[in-house]
């Protein structure tokens, strides 16, 4: 089996004043390439910490995390930045687009930090066309609807052909109709290009559309179960 994520005994401890707070208390699981996984759990369950760790925004305090063959635990900040750039595409709840840049400018950003100069604009355009925004290239975020903004964010996430897409409540700021569109866009990306999808959510309807649900509780793995019927 081709594993894209191997998490072994992940522990993450924060210092809050004088106390150490354990956000993750030894979580282990694997995710196969091309899988669609949702991570669920009540607030305080370590869901966000899990996402930050899987997205290489943060290092685990102990344990081993291998992303697409690279061990992340021992990396320095710049190496982590490089891994994020090459292997992770982020989709945030609040879109996080830069309002000064046009749609295509926003999508270009990861390519800029990858040091790609040749054909950058073309790749950004291709990504925007893939998400159905071929006619909104030069619009700025405030000229786009919420759904369109999230599509730009998805285009930005896939432009660098990452190993995984980390989506943090991707439909949280959208109404249900537009939310469905975004979900089907993400699912289609998985179907067409085999992109691994990791969706952090507390919405059971979203989780139901994924192949597997990883539930966290109090910083520990609660259950990891296959969804019946969602596998296509």
């Amino acid at each position: 089996m081709d594993l894209v994520i191997e998490a072994r005994d992940l522990v993450k401890t924060y210092k809050m004043g004088e106390f150490d707070v354990q956000a993750l208390r030894g979580v282990s699981f694997t995710i196969t390439r091309g899988e669609i996984v949702s991570i669920m759990g009540p607030s305080g369950s370590g869901k966000s910490t899990m996402m930050n760790t899987l997205g290489c925004l943060d290092r685990p305090t102990s344990g081993e995390y291998i992303l697409d063959g690279e061990s992340v635990g021992e990396m320095n900040d710049d190496q982590l930045a490089s891994v994020r750039n090459r292997k992770v595409g982020f989709v945030f709840q609040s879109f996080n687009l830069l309002s000064r840049l046009t749609a295509v400018g926003n999508v270009e950003l990861p390519l800029r930090y990858a040091g790609i100069t040749e054909g950058r604009r073309e790749r950004a355009r291709a990504a925007l066309e893939k998400v159905g925004l071929g006619d909104r290239m030069t619009h700025r975020p405030y000229e786009l609807s919420g759904g369109q903004q999230q599509r730009v964010a998805v285009a930005r996430a896939i432009v660098n052909a990452p190993a995984i897409i980390m989506a943090d409540e991707p439909t949280g700021n959208l109404d249900s109709k537009v939310g469905k569109e975004i979900m089907s866009l993400l699912l289609n990306l998985n179907k067409d290009h085999g992109t691994t999808l990791i969706i952090v959510t507390h919405d059971p309807l979203i989780a139901a559309q994924t192949q597997r649900v990883i539930r966290l509780r109090d910083g520990e793995l609660d259950t990891s179960e296959e969804n019946e019927g969602s596998k296509k």
């Binding site: 900040d77 710049d78 930045a81 996080n96």
Partner: protein, 420 residues
């Protein structure tokens, strides 16, 4: 990310907040403009003084009566009240200095006696400085005539009543300074024929030489300016053979006068002052002035720099989320650092360029005002001032940008993304 991209992004970002960027730039503009204008005024003053000192002659030495007080000295250094024991300078002293064997470095000597006298022509009347001079005065002092001739040896031998007028004196008396050769003016009631009019030298540091009259030495001695002892002179001007021999000439003149006045060593009763001494003294003064003005202006540049730091810190706080996002997308520390440093440097660079133009304008206006009020003074915007203020403002942009930029670069992506 390449520098070109960083520059484009910085322009985009600064453009997004025009008012704030503009005000920040204004601080630098004022600072740089002040530095440029102040240095220009200082340099202009220096050039103006250097010019007027140079205009009084070439390789010139001045011999005054009386010892120079202390060791420092200045243009006012010759101390004329140092006692009655001082022997006055005489025509014989001047002749001895002019001896080519005793003083080979001295090319020409011009003894002068000076006094003030009332000059009249028709109804016009003015009191001006009268100098009794010899024929050598003209070459020694670089005098030029706009018409007629200067005093010559014949006038001196014959004690003739002739006068060469400075242009300002001519203007006062005749209302013009051309076509007046051959007219007769009265000096202290005695008639003098005008034989020449001098070319204007501008306001010299030695008092205006344009508002003066020059008559033969012998005539002055006999009729106008009475001195205690015979053949006494006020100043002896001497010209060295070359710029290199000025010091040598000063030494020779001192030795001759020590011998003639029989003064013990170290107790000279005369002072030899060179043109370079004057220049040095004035250049020291204007140099201090320039540094002082530039320093004050530099403080405003510093304040402008602090303004940049302030705005950059605000900007970093405001854009914490953006920084977090950029890091999530793969920006390394140095990418963020470069981004913010480029912004702060761009602010100060733009401010610097506008400031140079603005300072230039101020200097130009100061020059116009000075000319309009009759002062011969042109501020000089030197390349050194431009280079200095440009590099200084760029350095300020970098220096005051480093702290905010490194703060931005060291933000934790997780924390920054969570920032509201």
């Amino acid at each position: 990310m390449s520098f070109g991209q960083a520059l484009l992004e910085a322009i985009e970002s600064l453009n997004g907040n025009k008012m704030r960027s503009g005000l920040t730039v204004l601080g630098i503009v004022i600072g740089v403009a002040a530095v440029i204008a102040m240095l220009a005024v200082g340099n202009g003053a220096q050039a103006s003084i250097t010019g007027s000192i140079s205009s009084i002659g070439t390789n010139l030495l001045f011999v005054f009566r009386g010892a120079r007080e202390g060791g420092g000295g200045g243009p006012g250094g010759p101390n004329r009240s140092s006692g009655n024991n001082d022997r006055p300078l005489t025509l014989e002293d001047a002749a001895a200095i002019g001896d080519p064997f005793a003083a080979p470095s001295v090319a020409a000597v011009a003894p002068v006696i000076q006094g003030n006298a009332t000059v009249t022509y028709g109804g016009e009347k003015t009191t001006i400085s009268i100098s009794g001079v010899t024929a050598d005065y003209k070459p020694v002092r670089n005098m030029e005539l706009s018409e007629g001739d200067f005093i010559n040896a014949e006038h001196i031998l014959g004690r003739m009543s002739v006068v060469a007028l400075g242009p300002d004196a001519a203007d006062t008396l005749f209302g013009r300074h051309d076509g007046i050769v051959g007219e007769t003016v009265r000096i202290e009631g005695q008639p003098f024929r005008v034989i020449g009019v001098l070319v204007s030298k501008g306001g010299g540091s030695m008092g205006s030489e344009d508002n003066a009259a020059y008559i033969p030495f012998t005539t002055a001695q006999a009729r106008l300016i009475k001195k205690g002892s015979l053949n006494q002179v006020d100043v002896i001007f001497a010209q060295a053979t070359s710029a290199e021999s000025v010091t040598q000439a000063a030494e020779e003149i001192s030795n001759i006068l020590r011998q003639r006045h029989r003064t013990p060593i170290g107790q000279d009763d005369f002072t030899v002052f060179t043109q370079q001494d004057f220049l040095k003294t004035f250049q020291t003064i204007t140099g201090v002035l320039t540094i002082f003005l530039g320093g004050i202006a530099g403080i405003s540049l510093l304040v402008g720099g602090i303004g940049i730091m302030n705005i950059m810190l605000v900007s970093v706080t405001e854009r914490t989320r953006e920084i977090g996002l950029r890091k999530a997308l793969g920006a390394r520390k140095k990418d963020i650092l470069l981004q913010f440093l480029t912004e702060s440097s761009l602010l100060s660079l733009v401010g610097g360029i506008i400031g140079i133009l603005f300072g230039w304008l101020i200097a130009f206006i100061v020059g116009k005002v000075a000319t309009a009020t009759g002062n011969n003074f042109t501020p000089i915007v030197g390349t050194d001032a431009i280079l200095l203020s440009t590099s200084f403002s760029a350095a300020i942009g970098l220096f005051f940008g480093i702290y905010p930029a490194s703060r931005a670069a060291s933000l934790e992506p997780v924390e920054a993304l969570r920032h509201e």
